[in-house]
């Protein structure tokens, strides 16, 4: 019985991922493929935001770090002619370096104060992007090269220029890899230490945990993946505007996470998928997007404080019997 239940979860994941690989065969409209690509990129960003949140800090600058990756990769590949395959990881590293530099002063403050400081940090980063207009073009950076073709003679020949489906597969593989890495880190002692700090920094430091160091580590890891996703976005969209990474998008990212549920790994995935779709659905009412998101946010906060991913637990706690409760003294 237990063996079967242990198998159902991985089997479910496998089917889900196979379905995702089949999607370009089923849905052929480029617009829908585009939405899938954008959703997956934002799933990486919001999941990495949740990684930072594991250590008890909610950053309101995450879109800015995505922007650092995007602009770094975009400018370096355009100006210096490096391959995007190289500049995408470099973009992640650039975002990570900035996170480490600003991270130490940031760790002097906690909770809401951290969020406030990060907010100003995010605004400053976007302002710097605008100021460096010699490279970033101030209002927008155009002419970013697309991904180089993958060409192994006789085996594969994939070109990315003007194609949606290759980008879809690139983003899908990237998302799966990023999420696997984030999942592994969360379920290791590193993740446990982050969660310990979030629960009580007094207790954590009393057992020797270097709170500042681990909070910077969380920022570094989170911003690395935001940078990777941002850089991938740059070489997909081929045009960048600073507004994509400004204050409001950063707030949106936090909303995606909270609506999905920050306690669960699936939270950012669910929240992002639903809210990106909702925003696309109301595309005609673009200037009302914050209003719509705000209303959804309020509903979630009042009706399901643990987010959509926590809804199942919430219902079970309210109506169901307490299943699988661990009995004291039982062998785990």
């Amino acid at each position: 019985m237990k063996g079967i239940r242990n198998l159902t979860k991985p089997a479910g994941f496998a089917i889900f991922i196979i379905l995702l690989f089949l999607i370009p065969l089923i849905i052929q409209k480029p617009y829908y493929i585009h939405i899938f690509i954008i959703t997956m990129l934002y799933i990486i960003v919001v999941s990495s935001l949740r990684t930072i949140a594991l250590s008890g800090q909610v950053s309101v600058a995450h879109a800015a770090f995505m922007g650092i990756g995007a602009y770094f990769s975009g400018v370096v590949s355009k100006e210096l002619g490096f391959s995007p395959w190289l500049t995408i990881p470099l973009g992640g590293l650039a975002a990570m370096m900035v996170a480490i530099l600003v991270g130490y002063p940031f760790t002097r403050v906690r909770a809401i104060y951290f969020s406030m400081v990060s907010l100003f940090g995010g605004i400053a980063i976007v302002a710097l992007i605008r100021v460096a207009q010699k490279w970033t073009g101030a209002a927008g950076l155009a002419g970013i090269p697309p991904l180089d073709p993958i060409n192994i003679p006789g085996l594969v020949n994939i070109t990315f220029v003007g194609q949606k489906v290759p980008y879809y597969y690139f983003t899908l593989v990237l998302t799966i890899v990023c999420l696997l890495v984030l999942y592994r880190i969360e379920h290791s002692r590193v993740g446990m230490t982050w969660k310990a700090i979030a629960q009580s920094h007094f207790v954590a430091s009393s057992v020797g945990i270097n709170e500042a160091g681990f909070r910077v580590l969380a920022l570094a890891v989170g911003c690395f993946f935001a940078g990777i996703a941002g850089a991938s976005y740059a070489h997909y969209n081929l045009v960048l505007a600073p507004g994509t990474f400004s204050f409001l998008p950063s707030i949106f990212l936090v909303m995606y996470m909270l609506v999905g549920g920050r306690d669960k790994f699936a939270g950012p995935i669910i929240g992002t998928a639903i809210l990106v779709l909702v925003l696309e659905f109301f595309r005609g009412l673009r200037e009302y997007a914050p209003l719509i998101l705000g209303a959804i946010m309020l509903l979630v906060v009042f009706l399901m404080p643990q987010g959509i991913a926590g809804l199942f637990d919430q219902i079970r706690a309210k109506y169901g019997e307490v299943r699988n409760r661990k009995v004291p003294g039982s062998v785990a």
């Binding site: 592994r184 969660k195 629960q199 009580s200 007094f202 057992v207 020797g208 004291p328």
Partner: protein, 264 residues
């Protein structure tokens, strides 16, 4: 004849010299000279607001002293960060039952084994065989401590669901995970039932017998009999020091606790 305290524990482990802490204009701790010898159980007692917990927070680096020195194991540790205090061998519990509330009892312990054995980010993220061996070692060690303090039967309960007394014992277990030379216990029996107190005293004696030095804070005078030596604080100053029975008869102490009309 029984040996005197200094003969039994000749070596100084912790020493404060002129330790002072001001909060605004108020001296919470004032020119405190005290020492704890290796192997001892020393009690700091005093009425509420006497500065006992402040002394702990100064020793562990949660607060920076306004003046004076703290020397631990021959090393000046004045003003060091809290996580470094743990690293050099000072474990502590908190007055309120601070814990990792959303972790199980076992997870509380496992998370507390941060210092030993060391692990790197990469081996943890990659889940290397060496890292898994460390994990296994940690869970064995954690289980040993839980058995020592009698929490092994509730190891899978969430810490926040435990009764208050168990939560305090869990605090002690967690402090033991840093393999402390000196264990600071902040009001370890406050709010406990009789049975829990009796049990806890047994645990503390076991910990001492394994070679750990204990410095504890209490405002309950009855608890002093456990201690080898007692230091009495009032308004941040040391007003008495000595064997428990000596201190109990001390006039200043009686006055501090019960007011002047009781001092006869």
């Amino acid at each position: 004849m029984e040996k005197s305290v200094t003969e039994r524990y000749p070596e100084v482990l912790l020493e404060t010299r002129g330790l002072t802490k001001y909060f605004g204009g108020l001296a919470a701790v004032s020119r405190l000279d005290m020492h704890v010898n290796r192997g001892e159980i020393v009690g700091i007692i005093g009425p509420n607001g006497a500065g006992k917990t402040t002394v702990f927070n100064l020793i562990t680096g949660v607060l920076r002293p306004s003046g004076g020195k703290i020397i631990f194991d021959g090393e000046d540790i004045t003003g060091k960060k809290p996580h470094l205090a743990a690293k050099i061998g000072i474990g502590r519990t908190f007055q309120a039952a601070y814990l990792f509330a959303d972790f199980t009892v076992m997870e509380n312990l496992v998370a507390s084994f941060y210092l030993y054995p060391k692990f790197s980010f990469w081996e943890a993220a990659l889940n290397t065989p060496g890292y898994r061996k460390k994990e296994e070692y940690i869970s064995n060690q954690a289980m040993e401590i839980l058995q020592l303090v009698g929490l092994d039967k509730v190891k899978d309960e969430l810490a926040k669901n435990l009764p208050h007394g168990y939560q305090k014992v869990l605090g002690v277990a967690r402090a033991l995970a840093v393999k402390p030379k000196l264990l600071l216990l902040d009001e370890p029996i406050a709010g406990m039932t009789r049975d829990e107190i009796v049990f806890s005293l047994g645990v503390f004696e076991k910990i001492q017998s394994q070679g750990t030095t204990i410095l504890l804070v209490e405002h309950n005078m009855e608890f002093m009999s456990l201690c080898d030596r007692v230091i009495v604080l009032n308004f941040g100053q040391k007003i008495a020091e000595g064997l428990p029975e000596e201190v109990r008869r001390d006039e200043d102490v009686i006055q501090a606790y019960f007011g002047s009309e009781h001092a006869a």
